[in-house]
Symmetry: C2
Subunit: 428 residues, 2 copies
């Protein structure tokens, strides 16, 4: 928490915070306590005790502001502000689940900013008597992180029809607990498909250094990097790790390690335009004196350029054939999920740009490398994605940090964007 | 089990099995049922339910044959045949714990053969009235495998004073359960140091292909390969596996994978005389979208030549420095344990050779690459180590196999060896 204070003090004077801004920051402090870790981060994996408690708290906050809380059949949490009965919704939000030992801004900031944008607009419309064209649905998507249940972006994938509901509900964590089993006792499994969306908006911390390096407050996301996500299972044969002749071994961990190294070497061939990673790897039987017979791992390729991604995919598969021969293993490939370089709708970017200019916020066009629920949503409805700076680009780490001023600036712009979308300023 | 029948039928006719041999094979079938797996193997990790049940059964078998059952303070199980009150003991046995999904012969065969050798000698001495010079202690060493509690050969390491008792008892498995906590409820934690050893003998399956390839029944173990066992912890930094710039990453899993590959490359530089392996590797936080901040792994180097081992150790540490730079990680090295190329006492080898010749069993001198409790014991007292063939050298695998005929031949020779040691045929 020390860094919060230090960085905040180092900033130049900012416009005074309104009572509404203070209320937002107070709620943000409260929500950061759910699953808080000693180092100032959070651990709120999907449907964990911390995630469930936070959702219950959030439901109460939404209801206290007159929003109707509903859940769809994959546990997405909606707070509905229905001013025009029967009209479709501007769906605005992000996710409150986290990686294990993660930062407190990732996802959570976007959900709370969406709620406070809705609270502000509800107040405005109440005072002015104005009637928007579209309703507002604040959303907390289920299991965006995918650390407990693979794949990530599960809730928005089901909502947008990209992932079958039954398949998602049957997905098990490493203890064999299914999504259905994890959600059922929480009361978060609804029986509908959620509100009908007309537009979508999401705000998130950047998880990169572009905004900070250029001293810019707002990123207007114009498109996403393409990504391919694979699950590989490397099969070898159990053997005595001491006695067995080296040439007799079929070492699944050697095969898997060669694959991890190969992924990095492929990234090194396309500096700046290809990201690769293996974050999860499980060894069986994982004993000091046994050559591993099976290793499963999740590998990603991401690029701003789909032709680079295709080339990287080819290189990877060529390397896999070599690795199968070198390590005497077989590699099963399961394609988990993928998305292309697809633009966010131009009218949405321009709507956000006009808002930023009205508010006097510096802004720049930017691509998103990370996956977000809005990447799913933009294939369904016109979608606006906004970024605020994240210190040193630190992400999925307890030391992730965004200043209060940047959070409040983002909230103000998100409110502008949602107001514009609800007014029908762009076409669907 | 199919392979058992097939291989047994393919063998030439063997000397008829005696009732005592039949009794041994019957006991072996019974003991193989503890922790039995569907594929014909076993899962009996140290102090697991299966290990505990088997030890209870074994204690009853020992007592039924008039042996006194005792435990020392690290849970080694002894069956004492004390014919000469106050005289030291020929300690003969092996271990009954197993790797997860292991074969049914590794260790278990040696413990049961030791018990039956003691039963036979007890019967002989009873009938002849002969009084040996030394007593016999059948031993089932605790946690030889080290899959649940590291290091392996724990019970014999404590018995021989190579590992402090307190350190061993405080060792935790991956669920945080200590050896003391695991053993206390079982009644296997005694209050003494076990019997005083004068000699030691152990029989084990070879876990290699030398005996099978040369059509030899008995391996007379003349020395052990040297081994260095390390625990490495690779430290990086958590980051978003998609968004974080490749050059900003400090990927602990990349560092660990480079280390696994480096170990194999070093082995490839010394074909046939250096074995290396990483069997256990744990990733934190092990999430698909997070660059790993910490990976711990266990790495072994083993060689028949201590100078090769020293050179391999140097090469490994040079590679580690390179890996630290390449992957921007730090590598902590913890030296777990090691042993040198040390001979089994010549008189013991010759005692066993004379026994094999009397019994008409083909035999050859051999080194052991795998670690055994007898490697610890030979530094304390003159020790005889015998091998019987293991089919295709398959080891630490459910398909491990040794024929009934080879097991019985080994039991007969072990009985000869223990008789000779108890008679004081070699000097201590």
């Amino acid at each position: 928490m020390k860094s919060t204070t230090a960085s905040a003090q180092a900033l130049p004077p900012q416009p005074a915070l309104s009572p509404a801004d203070e209320a937002f920051l107070e709620d943000f402090a409260t929500m950061s306590a759910f699953g808080a870790t000693a180092s100032g981060g959070v651990d709120r994996q999907a449907a964990s005790v911390a995630d469930v408690s936070q959702r219950q708290w959030f439901a109460e906050r939404l209801e206290a502001h007159g929003l109707r809380v509903e859940y769809d059949r994959i546990g997405n949490q909606f707070g509905l502000l229905e001013r025009v009965p029967g009209a479709p919704f501007v769906v605005v939000g992000s996710h409150m689940d986290s990686q294990p030992t993660a930062g407190r801004f990732d996802g959570a900031y976007g959900v709370l900013a969406a709620a406070h944008a809705a609270f502000r607009l509800a107040g405005e419309w109440e005072r002015s008597g104005e009637v928007p064209r579209f309703n507002i649905a604040v959303v907390n998507w289920f299991n965006e992180e995918g650390s407990r249940f693979v794949p990530s972006m599960m809730g928005s994938s089901v909502f947008t029809g990209k992932l079958p509901l039954d398949k998602a509900l049957a997905t098990c964590d490493r203890d064999g607990v299914s999504v259905r089993e994890a959600l059922e006792p929480t009361g978060f499994l609804g029986d509908g498909d959620g509100p009908t969306a007309a537009f979508c908006a999401e705000i998130h911390i950047e998880q990169g250094r572009n905004l900070e390096n250029s001293g810019t407050t707002i990123g207007l996301v114009t498109s996403s990097w393409a990504a391919n996500k694979y699950e590989f299972v490397v099969n070898g044969d159990q053997a005595h790790s001491g006695a067995t002749l080296m040439e007799d071994r079929r070492d699944a961990l050697l095969g898997a390690s060669l694959l991890v190294v190969a992924a990095r070497e492929i990234a090194d061939r396309f500096p700046g335009v290809l990201h690769t990673s293996v974050g999860q790897l499980d060894v069986y039987p994982n004993s000091p004196v046994v050559v591993a017979s099976r290793v499963s791992l999740l590998l990603d390729l991401r690029s701003a350029d789909e032709s680079v991604l295709r080339l990287a995919d080819e290189l990877l598969h060529t390397r896999i054939e070599e690795i199968e021969a070198t390590a005497r293993v077989t590699v099963e490939r399961h394609h988990s999920h993928s998305w292309g370089v697809t633009p966010y709708q131009r009218e949405g970017v321009e709507l956000a740009r006009r808002g930023a200019e009205r508010l006097g916020l510096s802004h720049t066009d930017i691509m998103t490398v990370a996956g977000h629920d809005s990447i799913n949503m933009k294939d369904l409805v016109p979608t606006v994605m906004l970024f605020v700076p994240s210190s040193e680009g630190i992400s999925h780490n307890e030391f992730e940090f965004t200043t209060d001023e940047d959070m409040v600036a983002g909230l103000r712009l998100l409110t502008e964007v949602v107001r514009g979308l609800a007014a029908g300023e762009i076409t669907g």
